[in-house]
């Protein structure tokens, strides 16, 4: 566990110019010096805007410090990733690919991942049911909570990945059908009807998609740092350009990190209807200012401490990604019998 607090550098403003100054990143805009950041503080760089210049020298500095550079589009989707040629153990990669080729091991890991996700969904709804005073909402939440409990019990009996994916689909539908009852403010503009992506067709999907993209970015970084290949998954099938393992790892983080943060942002009215641009044809996009608000809230949430049961210590939420990636690496090496998803209390 590195002792230094490392941080993700998000670049979102057009016109930024980032160059190397010895061991620091020097960030300028219109010839004015904004910041000088020592490289060892940076865990990854996330470029979210086209009109940003990162000089070759700055890129070299990042690669020398094993800082991956991620290029994301305006929805937060990963477009490109620049990393140094990895020097991580090639035996771990081979173990990883062997496990991915073995349907039984795939199923075991995928079952653990889905169990983690559903437990976290259920806990989130339980919290919603505790906090609401509306009897209709309470009933709806309670019936979904019971349905999820039954589905969790059925996970070990799923014979193959397809039936597990079917179970997960049913669980997701139940969970999102109860999702609206978690909103205490602004229910009307943020009503959840159905999940839509590429492009999101309403505000809540737009907000969720952006948060998921941030979580996915952190999962890719954590898996890369752990020496795994983010593109070879267990639950998610491999497809060109799809970070399947990052999608696997993020499942357990969706309910308690991304969904909860979306609910908080809406309930505290930090995000409001005017933060979205509704395009003709139905696509919905966040305004640049709203993206910054969400990024700030997300980064601040990641700085909060949370107890990790395996390590039995308090670590920042941002470090939980790295710990979970390392637990997965230990499973693939054969040092641990089963993957242990993180289920916060």
């Amino acid at each position: 566990m590195p002792e230094i607090i490392q941080n993700v550098l998000y670049l979102t403003t057009p016109g930024l110019y980032i160059q190397r100054d010895h061991l620091t990143f020097l960030i300028e805009r219109d010839g004015t010096r904004l910041l000088s950041l020592p490289a060892h503080h940076i865990e990854s760089i996330c470029i979210m805007e086209n009109e940003i210049t990162l000089t070759h020298g700055a890129m070299q500095l990042a690669l020398e410090h094993a800082i991956p550079i991620h290029y994301l589009d305006e929805h937060g989707r990963l477009r490109a990733r620049v990393t140094a040629i990895p020097d991580t153990s090639v035996t771990l990669r081979r173990d990883h690919y062997r496990a991915a080729d073995d349907p039984t091991r795939c199923l075991h890991i995928a079952q653990a991942i889905i169990a983690g996700k559903l437990h976290n969904c259920r806990n989130s709804l339980l919290r919603g049911a505790r906090e609401t005073s509306d009897p209709t909402a309470k009933d709806a939440l309670q019936s979904t909570i019971d349905a999820l409990a039954r589905l969790i019990q059925n996970i070990p009996d799923t014979p193959d990945l397809d039936s597990l994916r079917g179970l997960e689909g049913a669980a997701a539908q139940a969970y999102f059908s109860a999702f609206n009852h978690l909103l205490k403010q602004q229910q009307d503009p943020f009503t959840f009807r159905t999940r839509s992506r590429y492009p999101p067709l309403d505000r809540i999907n737009c907000l969720l998609s952006f948060l998921y993209a941030l979580v996915r970015h952190d999962c890719i970084s954590a898996l890369t740092v752990a020496g795994l290949d983010p593109f070879v998954g267990f639950l998610h099938a491999e497809r060109p350009n799809r970070p399947a393992l990052a999608l696997d790892l993020m499942e357990e983080f969706r309910p308690w990190l991304a969904d909860r943060l979306a609910i908080t942002l809406i309930n505290r009215q930090q995000i409001q209807p005017h933060d979205f641009i509704l395009h003709p044809g139905g696509a919905v996009e966040l305004t640049p200012d709203a993206r910054k608000t969400i990024l700030k809230a997300y980064q601040e949430r990641k700085r909060e401490n949370l107890h990790h049961p395996v390590l039995d210590q308090q670590i920042t939420i941002g470090r939980h990604f790295f710990v979970q990636a390392r637990i997965l690496a230990r499973v693939l090496r054969g040092d641990l019998p089963q993957y242990l998803p993180h289920i916060p209390k």
């Binding site: 230094i4 993700v8 010895h22 020592p38 503080h41």
Partner: protein, 96 residues
């Protein structure tokens, strides 16, 4: 760990000015300048070994002085800043 580095470099000659530049550069590579010859560096053991060796190599023990303060989390949290040039907190979200 958080290390506070302060220095005095005798700049009466060209050689002293050079030492001052190089010591300031070494500190800037690893930390944040909080005052003219005061840097706060949040470092891991590896970085600290490198930086310390670099500083001890650059300074002239007969003419200059270096001070290293090792601050624990409690001491770091108790730090106050008043007035201009509030330094950047590198643990805050870095969104530009």
């Amino acid at each position: 760990m958080l290390i506070l580095i302060t220095y005095d470099v005798a700049t009466t000659d060209e050689e002293g000015a050079r030492r001052l530049r190089r010591i300031a550069r070494a500190c800037a590579d690893y930390g944040i300048r909080v005052q003219k010859s005061v840097f706060e560096c949040q470092l891991g053991p590896k970085e600290w070994v490198t930086l310390r060796a670099r500083l001890l190599q650059e300074f002239n023990p007969d003419l200059d002085s270096l001070r290293f303060y090792y601050l624990d989390a409690e001491a770091a949290a108790k730090t106050e800043h008043h007035g201009t040039q509030k330094p950047l907190d590198l643990s805050e979200p870095l969104i530009l």
